[in-house]
Structures are given as C-alpha cells and as structure tokens.
C-alpha cells in the first residue's frame, strides 16, 4: 500500500525500477561462492566479466538468460538472487561458453552447480521434474514416439533404439539409482504441491 502511494499507480515496470536494487553486504553469502566452486569443480571466482560466455550463448539472443550475470552472482555470493532467478533453467548445456572462456572457467558447470543447490531448496521448474518422472518410467527423458519410430524405420534402423526401449527389463536398474537419491520421491512431492 505504501508503494502504491509512492508511485501513484504508475505502471508496474516503473514500480520495479524504483525498487531499491543496491546490494548490501548481507545479501552476499561467501559460502555460496565456495559451494558453487566445490560442486562445479571449476573456478567461478576467477571471472573477469568479459562477456565471451553471453556472446557465445545460443540461448541469450532468444531469451532473458545472461550467463555472465550468473557468473557475477557466483563471484559476489548473491545466493538468493541466483537461485530464485527463473533464468537459471534456460541454459541448454551446449558448452559453447566453456569452449571459449579466456579464463578457462566452465560456466556451464557453474550453472549446473547452482541448479543442484536450487533443487535442494525445492526451487525447480515442473517441466524438469516431469523429465525425472519420464526417466523413471521409461529410462528416457524424451521417450520414443510414433513419429520417431517411422523416421527410424525409413533410415533402416530398428523401430526402438537398443536402450531401455528395447530392453525394458533394465528400467528397474535406473529406478534403483533414482530411488537411491530420492529423486523420484522428491519430484513427485513437488509436482503434487504445485499442481495439486
């Protein structure tokens, strides 16, 4: 209500701009930088913000995803900002940035580390969880379908690839691995919470 009074009903975009966007010392969590470094096994604290990663990124021109922005947050330990930004899930893991980074950092793995940390806080888009469910039931993130089967046949391949599709008896093994990490249980729980 106070905000409304201040901006006298201006559009929401201006409201967002007027918000205090400075960062304060307490926003920064040095352990976040350390954790990201440990999980990613690369050197995110060495980023000098040249922009090669965003410049290489096929996702950047098509979305609001800015990998350099996440690298900056890794350097500064801006944990909440990084983990709650929905852009975190827009990386296609093509590794172009990792090929070209002049500081020899692997930005893709930094993103993967942040996703792991986010998942620990149940921050994860539902489509990622549905992928988990698909792997659990079929052994594939993107299971085979009739269009693919026809295409494979045309190319002289078997209708199903020699994976769990051809040998469904091995799905059990995959399920055992996912159960060990409680991945399926967590996915089911969060999907249920979100979708009821």
């Amino acid at each position: 209500m106070i905000i409304m009074a201040r901006t006298k009903g201006y559009p929401e975009a201006l409201e967002k701009k007027l918000r205090d966007q400075r960062y304060y010392r307490e926003d920064s969590n040095p352990d976040f930088t350390k954790n990201v470094k440990a999980i990613s096994r690369t050197i995110p604290h060495m980023c000098y913000q040249c922009g090669t990663c965003t410049g290489s990124c096929p996702s950047a021109p098509r979305s609001s995803y800015r990998i350099r922005h996440f690298m900056r947050r890794a350097v500064l330990g801006l944990e909440n900002e990084a983990l709650t930004d929905p852009d975190l899930w827009l990386c296609t893991t093509c590794y172009s940035c990792s090929d070209r980074c002049p500081r020899d950092i692997i930005p893709t793995d930094v993103i993967m580390a942040m996703r792991n940390l986010a998942f620990k806080r149940d921050i994860v888009p539902v489509n990622f969880l549905k992928t988990v469910q698909a792997i659990y039931s079929s052994g594939h993130g993107v299971p085979n379908n009739d269009v693919n089967r026809a295409a494979r046949e045309k190319l002289g391949l078997t209708r199903d690839p020699p994976t769990t599709h051809m040998y469904p008896e091995y799905i059990k093994g995959i399920q055992k691995i996912l159960d060990h990490y409680k991945l399926k249980a967590n996915a089911d729980r969060i999907v249920k919470e979100r979708e009821g």
């Binding site: 040249c50 922009g51 090669t52 965003t54 410049g55 800015r66 070209r100 002049p102 500081r103 020899d104």
Partner: protein
C-alpha cells in the same frame, strides 16, 4: 593448535633418531674438517701466487668469536617472532661471543652496531639474521669490511623471506625456525676463511644482438660513449618491427620518419660495426671476455667494402635494383606480411639500411640473369657464396631480440586465415601505410572495397588462461588500436570504428588524453570480449558476436572488416639465443631480468643485459628507455676497465688430486684442465672462468677439490648444526 603441538613432538622425535644415525658420520666429518687447516699451508708452500690470494688464514674452530646481529626489519620480522628469545638462544651457541638486535640492521646506525661490536669484542666472524642475501648480502659484507674483517667472514641467516613472511601466523614456529637458521649460520661462520676477489680486464668492445629500435638505440648509446659496438641483425636490414609501422601513438609521428635518422646514424657511425644477415653462432667466456662467433649468412651479394677486399675496385652493390628487375622468381614479401610480391633477389622496402640486396637462396633458381644485369664493373653478385664465420671479442653483450606476433589463427573462433576480411593489426599497419602494398588505402582483402564499418578486437590472444593464448597483457594493443581508429576516421569519411574491449589500458604519458580524443572523434567503444566471428559467405561481411556487458545484452554486429589486436610472443629462436648467453627465461617465455624492479636490464649472467621487448611487452618509449638503460649498464664494466669476480671458485688440493680428469669433463664452463706439476698430473682451475657451481667439488672421488666459501667442512658443519641441534 593441537595439530601444531603434534608436529613439534614429531620433529623432536625425528631429531633424536637422526642424532643416532648421524653419530658415526660426525666423527668422519671431524677428520675432514682437519683438512682445510692443512690445505692452505700446503698451497702456500707450493708457492703459486694466485693460490696465496685465494685462500687466506683459517681460524681454528675453538678460536672463532662470532657476533650475531638480529634484525627486526620494522615489524616484517619482529611482528611474527620473538626476537628476544632468538637472541637469548644465540647467546648459548658455541663460538658466539656477542649478540645484539636492531630495528633496521641495514641502516647506517645498524651497520655501526656491527662495526663497534667487531672492534670491541675482537670478533672473527659476523652473522646477520635478516632478509635474503639476494637483497642485503653486499650491504653487510661492506659493513664487515669496514669493521676491519675480511668481507667474506660474513654469513647471512634468512629469517624474513623464508621465515617471517611465510609463517606470519605461527609465532612459535617461526621463532623456532629462526633459532635453527641462526645456529646453522653460526656453524658456518666459525669456519669461514678470508677470501680475496679477483679482477679481470674488460675488453673495450660491446655487442648488441638485434637491430630493432631497442638494439639500434643501445648501439648508438654505446658508440656515443666511445665503445666499439658490434650490432648483429639476422634480417637483411635494420629497423625491426618499428620500421613496419605507419604512425606511432599518441603523437601520431610517422614511424619511418623518426626511425630513419637513427638507422642512418647506425649505418654511418664508425664505432658501430653493423652485421646484417648474421647470427650469433657460439659464445664462450665470461664478463669482460666474451669470445663470440658470428655466422654471416651467405647473402649472395657483396657490399662495396667486401668487393674491394676481393680486389674489385669500385664494385659491390650500390642498390640500383637492376638485378631485381630481371629476376624471374616471384615470392611473397615477408616484410609486407605476404601482401606484396618480391623477387628472389630483393630488399625489404625502399628505405632499407644498409641498401644492399640479398638473395633468398631457398627460392633462387641460379639462372644468372642478375649477374649479367649487375654488370662487369660492380660484379656484386656471387651465386656460390657460402656462410662465413667471424670471431669477435667483447666485454659485454646486450640482447634485443624483440618479438613475434602470436599465430592468432590458433584462436579458431575469430576466423583468421578462414575469413578473408579478418586481418591482424600488423597487416592493418602495412595497409594504412603510404609505402605499403596498397599505397596507404585501407581495402578489404576479399574485394578491394573500402570498408565503412571496421571492428577492432582487443585482447586477441592476450589475457588468455586457456593454454592456447598468452596469459599476459601485451601492453600496447589498446593504444595502437585507438590509433588505428583515428586513422580510419581521418582517411575514410563516414567510416565508423567499433572497438570491442575488456579494459582500455592507456597508462602512459598523454595516453589517456589520446583515448579521450579518439572517443571524441567518433570511435564507438563496446565493452565485451568478442565471442566469435561468422562470415556471410555471399557478401564476405562479418558478424561479430559478443555481449555488450554494460547494457547486459548480446550483440550481433555486421561489419565490413575485423582487425585482431593479436598478442605478441617471444621470437621463435629466443630459446637458442638465451642458451648461447646462459640467460634464463620466465614462465611466459620472455627473457628473465636479474630483478623485475631493481635490475630490469641485467640478467643472472654477469655482462649480459636485456633491452626492449625480449624482456617483456613494451611500447616504443619504454623500449627506448630500456635500451638506454641496458647500454648504460653494459658500458660500466667497459669504462671501469676491469671487473671483480666473486672468489667462489674451485681450487685443487694438489696432494689429494689423482689427476683422473673426471672433473674436467663435468665442468659446464670449461674452467678446468689437467697440467703437469712436479712430475704429476693434477687439475688446474682457470679462476676467471669458474662460476663456483660446485659440480666438480661434489663429484671428485678423492675429495681433492676445495670450493671456496662453500667448502665441504663448512657445509657439513651447517648440516650437523641443523641435525644435532647445536652440538658441534
């Protein structure tokens, strides 16, 4: 804390064990320790005068009176250890007659503490526990000398670089370590001998390797100081990289215009012997007396001087170019980075010094047309010419070998050598230069059109930790790219330069002002390192992809031409050159200076100096300054006339020497030889050549080699002092 305690107990345990193990060795050591006392007598008796000078009197161990002086170095040392405890401990050591400490031992009052103590306590040796001997050994040696002792009766215990600075947060541990260091130094000091440095005469000539702007400046300075200077250049003409440049930042002087007078001076000076198309083949000797063999590569063309020596009066090359006109072989000109043709007989460019043609024998077909064109009077061309070897003797040498451009095609994402319109900055220099392949018109290599949008990619291969590029900043790319931007704004109306940068490093005098000026002229700066470049196959235009980091938006900019400010790297044959002169290189491949701040022109080899970019990236002002510094340093020994050598050389204990000669082959400096003496074959040391490395002393099976100042008994005493914890 608990861990630390564990470590200490372990240490004492192992010490005890060591004591047991070492005990039998200790006796042997004592036997050996008797040797030095006997040795000088024998040496003196066997009369050779230099032997007298090298080995002085030895104090018997019991008579030694050592003074220990502990430096606080402000809080550098005192801040991380208990000086009082180290002092109290030092008092308990054998042979220690006096202990003191002072805030800054290297200061004048600190040195007078030493002076006074030596005189009042009749000390025979001085130990200073302070910084590294690399820093203050000369200072305290002088102080020891001034107090009346031989300067080599001084020993330094390093309790700063190797102690307080690395154990800053372990007060107890660093105090213990300092006690160890002092005990070890005292053990050696008790056995030190008087030593007398040798002087050797210095040849009144110098050599400069490389005749770019650094080498030329150094040679001109040496010549102006009255020193005969050999200037060796592997290319056919002098001027180096600077002669390839068009204009120079920030003054926009024409590079050739300011360089040509220097080139002419070098050619004209009667003190400079210019040897182009030549390489250093072999170097022997030491400061003051380097014997250098120079390979004069077969040039195929005689200078007037050479022709006259062969009896062809009035002959030799006069640079008329008649030969070039008839030569049927066409090759790319390396000076123009392959953008202009040359013949098999050629000069780099019209203003070359010396103006003598050269035959590229790798492409010459020996048709003889040039010989006919040259005519019977000049008779300058000799198609059968062979490499010649010339020997010269010099006192000092300066290396000014310069740099190469990093092969930027290795960074594949920028498409150099794949896309025609991606060029390097050096190619840009040649294209924009009036004497270049296009007469100063900047054109696209793909279609000869004038570009309207030019992108400059900074840090191309520099500041790169991937292992492909170079981790260092090449230091002058920012500035020349600003200059390039200015040149296209000036020459091509409506053309916009886009500078893709990470940081603009405009650090020199008037450099930041130059940056201001170029921005004002209309250059567009985009802060983002270029991620990759794509080519439009139809138009041959280029798409520069990056992130405008200040807008936080990805950029895809279509331009007509891209100029890569490629990194620089040491010359290809740097490794060969540095091995010839015994100079090291740093991690990045550039030649290593003696001290990065306080001795940037010197090297670890006495008498060899560095000038210009071979030591690390430099712009022209820094290169010239470094060359003048190197010339000044290289002229000092020559003007002094003689140099003092550290008396650390090996000497032979003749009665123990079996004359086996194994040491002679081991010596890396060819300082040893076998001679007949009193009917026996014994080894003899050429002291001026010996560097005191100890290879022979460590190897000699009979223990017949005495390493002055690092003698076996002295070193064994140090090891004992460490292992036995002070018992002698």
């Amino acid at each position: 804390m608990a861990e630390k305690k564990k470590a200490t107990t372990k240490k004492t345990e192992s010490k005890k064990e060591d004591t047991k193990k070492v005990a039998p060795v200790k006796q042997e050591v004592k036997k050996q320790a008797a040797a030095p006392a006997a040795k000088p007598k024998a040496a003196a008796a066997s009369a050779a005068a230099p032997a007298k000078a090298t080995v002085g009197s030895t104090t018997k161990q019991g008579d030694a009176r050592i003074g220990v002086f502990i430096c606080h170095c402000g809080t550098n040392i005192a801040g991380s250890m208990d000086i009082e405890a180290v002092q109290a401990y030092a008092k308990t050591l054998p042979n220690v007659a006096y202990v003191d400490n002072y805030k800054y031992m290297c200061s004048m009052p600190g040195q007078s503490v030493i002076n006074k103590a030596v005189k009042e306590n009749k000390l025979t040796g001085v130990v200073v526990a302070a910084c590294s001997p690399r820093l203050h050994e000369p200072t305290f040696r002088t102080a020891t000398k001034e107090s009346g002792l031989n300067p080599f009766r001084f020993e330094m215990a390093n309790i700063r670089e190797q102690n307080s600075w690395v154990h800053m947060h372990d007060r107890e541990g660093s105090t213990d370590k300092a006690k160890d260091a002092v005990r070890i130094a005292v053990a050696k000091a008790a056995l030190l001998q008087d030593l007398f440095p040798k002087s050797v005469p210095v040849e009144k000539a110098a050599m400069v390797v490389g005749a770019g702007v650094a080498g030329m400046q150094a040679a001109l300075d040496l010549a102006a100081a009255g020193i005969k200077t050999y200037l060796i250049e592997s290319d056919m003409s002098i001027g180096g990289r600077m002669s390839q440049l068009d204009k120079t930042f920030p003054t926009l002087d024409c590079s050739q215009c300011i360089l040509t007078p220097k080139m002419v001076d070098v050619g004209r000076s009667d003190k400079i012997e210019l040897m182009t198309w030549s390489e250093v083949h072999e170097v022997e000797g030491y400061i003051g007396n380097f014997d250098v063999t120079i390979r004069k590569k077969a040039r195929g063309v005689m200078t007037p001087k050479e022709a006259e020596a062969k009896g062809i009066v009035g002959g030799g090359c006069n640079g008329c170019g008649d030969c070039e006109a008839v030569c049927p072989v066409v090759k790319p000109n390396e000076f123009e980075i392959g953008m202009k043709p040359r013949k098999a007989i050629y000069i780099n460019h019209p203003q070359v010094v010396p103006l003598i043609y050269t035959i590229d024998f790798n492409s010459c077909v020996k048709c003889g047309l040039c010989v006919t064109a040259c005519g019977p009077e000049k008779r300058a061309i000799d198609l059968e010419m062979k490499d010649e070897f010339v020997k010269v003797k010099v006192g000092t040498a300066i290396l000014a070998t310069g740099y190469d451009i990093f092969p930027i095609e290795k960074k594949e994402e920028w498409g150099y050598k794949r896309f025609e319109n991606v060029i390097t900055s050096l190619e840009f220099e040649r294209l924009i230069c009036a004497s270049g392949p296009t007469g100063g018109h900047l054109v696209r290599p793909s279609d000869g059109q004038t570009p309207k949008r030019v992108a400059f990619v900074l840090c191309a291969g520099s500041r790169d930790n991937t292992g492909t590029g170079k981790p260092y900043c090449s230091r002058f790319c920012c500035m020349y790219s600003l200059k390039h931007a200015h040149q296209i704004i000036e020459k091509i109306p409506g053309c916009v330069p886009y500078i893709f940068y990470m940081d603009i490093r405009s650090f020199g005098k008037m450099y930041e002002e130059f940056y201001y000026r170029i921005q004002d002229e209309g250059a567009k700066f985009i802060r983002g390192r270029v991620a990759n470049i794509l080519e439009d196959p139809k138009t041959k235009n280029l798409h520069v992809m990056t992130d405008d980091t200040l807008l936080n938006r990805p950029v895809d900019m279509e331009v007509d031409m891209v100029v890569l400010a490629a990194a620089i790297q040491p010359k290809e044959d740097t490794n060969r050159t540095r091995k010839l002169f015994g100079v090291s290189c740093s991690m990045d491949g550039w030649l290593l200076e003696a001290h990065p701040k306080l001795n940037p022109c010197g090297t670890t080899t006495a008498g060899v100096f560095l000038a210009g970019v071979c030591q690390g990236p430099k712009d022209i002002p820094d290169t010239v300054a470094s060359a003048e510094g190197a010339a000044s340093a290289a002229s000092i020994p020559i003007h002094m006339g003689e140099v003092e050598l550290e008396p650390y050389f090996a000497s032979c204990i003749e009665e123990k020497c079996a004359g086996c000669g194994m040491c002679v082959n081991l010596c890396p400096y060819s300082a040893l030889s076998l001679v007949e003496k009193d009917g026996r074959t014994v080894m003899q040391v050429t002291e001026a050549k010996c560097k005191g490395c100890g290879t022979c002393g460590g190897f000699c099976p009979g223990g017949a080699i005495w390493m002055n100042h690092f003698a076996t008994p002295q070193i064994v005493a140090q090891i004992d002092a460490f292992l036995l914890g002070g018992e002698q």
